[in-house]
Amino acid sequence: MLKIKNLHASVEQKNILTGLNLDIKPGEVHAIMGPNGAGKSTLGFILSGREGYEVSEGKIEFQGEDLLNMAIEERARKGLFLAFQYPVEIPGVSNMAFMKESVNAIREQRGETPLTATEFLKKAKEACTQVQLSLDFLKRGVNEGFSGGEKKRNEIMQMILLEPSLCILDESDSGLDIDALQVVANGVNSQRDGKRSFIIITHYQRLLDYIKPDYVHILASGKVVKTGDASLATDVEKEGYAFLGQDNAEETNA
């Protein structure tokens, strides 16, 4: 599904990723944990194609193709989805119009016919119910005036509608209470079908109590420093990131 080899990347001449390797097979769930500033969100942005990140070394293969050569929208159409940590508000563009446009752009890529307004509405209502958002949210401006938790659920709703093959969740648990966390986790779990892969970027182990990862990677100073199974997350929760050593801790605080 996704192969990242020796990825080096910087933003505004500051090195963020320094030789990151990751291999994700279809159906796998990988959690990426690490202290603030380790490069977790940068990884999500680079995978989705956000501008402003310079890749100086390494390569990324997505479903056998060179991901770094693709435009942002092309990556999305080929099945890559990023749930944003801070989804933007777009007043004046309805959530409904936005998602319909998006779903149909992706359907077109897959050679499927676009959904009619009625067909889309049916699907959107189901997804809305699944993430426990009231149907009013479809009519409102994209994320406009949504609470933090509502924005996160709106991201999961999009993920459900777009049926991506690789889902990257960037701190989808941050700022959520326990009920909202379960809604997000249930949304993700409902999409696990043995083929779809997930990268769960998180600071805490909490979300991983509900979404059981196959692998846990600890990211520090721009590379994976430790990989293990779900129990690694529990260890981190108990002991913190102190095991990374003094050097890393300092860099983290910088």
């Binding site: 929208e73 999305a76 159409r77 933007v88 777009i90 563009v93 936005f98 998006s102 890529q109």
Partner: protein
């Protein structure tokens, strides 16, 4: 005195027709006028150089033209080619209460209507308005009887063609309690100059729905104006849609000459490449209890340049005036330019006024969000940046016209964005 201006005056002086007495005043004013340069405030940001470089000849005879049908509009069409009326008015099925005459050949009664309007509503200060006074030979006199409700829109089209110079004039009077829709549509893309000025007198409690589509592009220079006088309780709803050419300029004057008059003016301009468009609007609140709502919105891409100067002048007696003027712009490129200046001049103390102007750029983060959901770039930009334009198009009372315009405006926007 520029050579070009002198030539225009010379030509005006030899015209001998029934309008000659009315032209005399303009010719005199022109002979004392200075050719505007950047030091003249009203032409500060718009250069007349493209006009000076054109080689033109006054249009002699033009071909018949076929114009686009606008689905569902069912309009009474009057077509000009290079300022010369091609339609045969006598063949038009005019509804009761509507009288249309050519400026070339009016009856005595029509002449008297024209006399009451010609250069009476349009202020003197517009240099090209004076040029139009001196040189416009063809045009229309539209007279609507008191109480007549004209349902069918009147569409006036002027097409400019290569190498032609043209000046045409529209004079419209709505009697009291009358209502009508007038669409002025100018179009052209070849090297040409057209001046087109229209004067409207809206009678007591009358209603005018008005559109001016200035769709001149490339080398088609257009300088024109719409000037409205509102009597007591008169209402005006006007929409201006403008593209840009080497030089395109529009002056709009709305004068509240009666109490309790209401005016709404929406203007949209979309400029790409190195197009220019300059909009000067002046709202004169002379009498009390008037209302004006003006919204001008534009998008400027590439090396294009827009000028907006919106003035509201509230005279001493115009108490209880409500006036609002807003100008919103989106700049798509670092090389584009927008000069915007709202001006409020208030001499009455019991009025409610608001004004504002903004210039924004595309928000990269928002665009990234849309792209990351697979939405094509051009579509994403339309979704993000076109809503504020569509809002004004949606406010057009005539939805047939709006539906006809929308895809054209959207296509133009996408083209601007790609470059």
């Amino acid at each position: 005195m520029s050579q070009l201006l002198q030539q225009l005056i010379d030509r005006g002086q030899v015209i001998d027709d029934w309008l000659s007495p009315l032209r005399a005043h303009a010719l005199e004013a022109l002979s004392n006028a200075k050719w505007p340069n950047r030091r003249v405030e009203s032409w500060k940001y718009t250069s007349l150089a493209p006009l000076e470089q054109l080689e033109l000849s006054p249009s002699a005879k033009a071909d018949k033209a076929i114009i686009d049908d606008i689905e569902g509009l069912n309009s009474l069409d009057l077509v000009f080619v290079d300022g010369k009326l091609q339609s045969d008015i006598s063949l038009l099925p005019l509804p009761k209460g509507l009288h249309i005459a050519s400026l070339l050949d009016p009856s005595v009664k029509e002449q008297s209507t024209a006399n009451a309007l010609f250069a009476k509503i349009k202020p003197q200060r517009h240099l090209f308005g004076l040029i139009n006074d001196a040189l416009a030979e063809d045009g229309l006199i539209i007279d609507i009887d008191a109480g007549a409700k004209i349902e069918q829109p009147i569409r006036i089209v002027n097409l400019s063609s290569d190498g032609q110079e043209s000046h045409h004039r529209i004079l419209v009077r709505l009697g009291s309690h009358a209502s009508a829709t007038v669409i002025e549509h100018g179009q052209g893309n070849e090297a040409s100059l057209s001046t087109g000025f229209a004067e409207y007198e809206i009678g007591e409690q009358a209603y005018l729905e008005h559109y001016r589509l200035a769709m001149h592009t490339h080398q088609a220079i257009h300088i024109g104006g719409c000037h409205f006088s509102l009597k007591q309780k008169a209402r005006l709803n006007s929409t201006l849609i403008a593209y840009g050419s080497d030089l395109s300029r529009m002056d709009v004057d709305i004068i509240h000459n009666g109490e309790h008059a209401k005016a709404k003016l929406n203007a949209v301009y979309l400029l790409g490449e190195s197009e220019r468009f300059d909009l000067h609007s002046t709202i004169e609140h002379v009498m009390p209890n008037g209302t004006t709502q003006e919204n001008a919105r534009g998008i400027v891409g590439d090396k294009a340049k827009a000028v907006f100067n919106g003035r509201i002048h509230i005279h001493r007696d115009a108490q209880k005036t409500l006036a609002e003027l807003h100008n919103r712009n989106l700049l798509l490129s670092r090389r584009g330019q927008i000069n915007t200046k709202p001006e409020l001049e208030i001499y009455a103390d019991d009025v409610l006024c608001a004004h504002g102007a903004t210039v924004a750029e595309t928000e990269e983060e928002t665009l990234y969000y849309l792209l990351s959901r697979g939405i094509p770039r051009s579509k994403a930009l339309v979704m993000l940046n076109f809503g504020f334009i569509q809002e004004l198009v949606n406010q057009m009372p005539n939805q047939h016209l709006a539906q006809w315009l929308k895809p054209q405006l959207e296509a133009r926007f996408v083209e601007m964005e790609v470059k």
